[in-house]
Symmetry: C2
Subunit: 305 residues, 2 copies
Amino acid sequence: MREPITGAWASPGAHRYSILVHGGAGDVPPARREAHEAGCRAAASAGLAVLARGGSALDAVQAAVEVLEDDPRYNAGTGGSLDEDGALRLDACIMEGEHLRAGAVAVLPPFRHPIAVARDVLNDGRHVLYAGAGAERFATGAGHAREEGMVTDAARARLAVVRDGASGNWAGGTVGAVARDAAGHVAAATSTGGMVGKRSGRVGDSPIPGAGNYADDRAGAASGTGEGEGYLRAALAARACFYLEAGAQPRDAAERVMGTLHERTGMRGGIILVGRDGTLGLARTTETMSWAAAWEGAPPSSGCG
Amino acid sequence: MREPITGAWASPGAHRYSILVHGGAGDVPPARREAHEAGCRAAASAGLAVLARGGSALDAVQAAVEVLEDDPRYNAGTGGSLDEDGALRLDACIMEGEHLRAGAVAVLPPFRHPIAVARDVLNDGRHVLYAGAGAERFATGAGHAREEGMVTDAARARLAVVRDGASGNWAGGTVGAVARDAAGHVAAATSTGGMVGKRSGRVGDSPIPGAGNYADDRAGAASGTGEGEGYLRAALAARACFYLEAGAQPRDAAERVMGTLHERTGMRGGIILVGRDGTLGLARTTETMSWAAAWEGAPPSSGCG
């Protein structure tokens, strides 16, 4: 394992269809790791069910991420981290690799499934990314309704700790998924509440194609989690996909870009990748990253440690 | 020249310091092309003056872009295109290649120099990108004041034409600059009003590191102009820099990514590049792209069409 990589994993080879899900790079205490893994397994299973019935990678990653957005343990959707004003403002991106179509929302107020709003942006096709009040206008116009009750006591407590100066801003817990379907197409989806106590209007890497999320059938697909400013500055998801396109195996590409992130920005995180042949791989430079993988004809794999 | 490239140019070789400026890919009528070139020459001269006195590439690209933001002929700052509500909402990004530091604002209401706000985001260092109301809050906190009088009659007329359905949304005219300084560092800056009649909250490629703007001392620097959704989807500025890092000459890398943009998204535009050795290059797939270049010991070059 290369310095400063703290963990890595790869699936045993090419798969006709496959999915890899993460519940965020960070520092999950040992007592909670099994629960974090279990949530990722549930998400991977939801995605695998889509793939097993011949569904698209795009539908599979959306289904997986919606499971995690509903789970308050993760920093996405319900339970997402709060900004400096105590507001829940959500970022999400979804992308498919055949035509490079992408949809994303940033600084979105509480809607149950930001990834579903991003999917509607992709389907609509007029623009790729909406932020703030315009993102809310798009979501409402697409038939989504603002939700109450998405701000949890745990999220309020995390913000209080950051405001007291007892902790840094980065809580981890961004969620994401990458998949390849039986037709050979790849997709990626990523969703987050962002940094705890982030300044108003801050856009992280998760909603940005090429930073925290990317998909290209000629390369593969990527979803990142970590100190988002570094992912933006290093164009990390695009960088990982360029390495895949040049022939790197997913685990090697993941280790390489996490090394680049560390070397060039001093920042940490993790990334999950699927190659165009369905091979899965991941690497992290954090204490933990919860993840689960599933593919045709094998029981799910998972980890958080 | 490769299909579908409509124009390309390269400087004669490596330069100790150099700058290349664009005034946007689009379709400038022949009668206005000399004026568009002249504005770019003024911007390149402002940047060259910074470089000639030993200033940084970062300061040079900011100085060049500020000249074009003040010029109402270009779609950036004063005279920028209006959104569907008739509002001026501005996007800008600036980035340096030594430490990959970047600053950006999106959906920013009228401030005279969005690129100067982006520079303050970079200098502040807490986040990379702010959008909408949060971007305005950051700008005000950094000492910038909202401006009156930045909406021009020409911008209102362009919006009326689009609303009448007599023209598409894409007006061209985004501005940008790339430079290398005598210390060997590169930088890029890009600023725009975005598409005419864009939906509220739409974020284009210009404020996104890796999409419309990128800089990395190991590769070079890039500024794009064109149909921004395609630049986001193709991670075009990052893609160009990866080709430079792999050894491509700037003009070749520019032609290659404009080909990728066309092939994968069907969209058009232009891109300017500087290699790490100061070589300049550009390519476009549009009718025109105004540009001007300057480097140590040579009179400025320019073109538009």
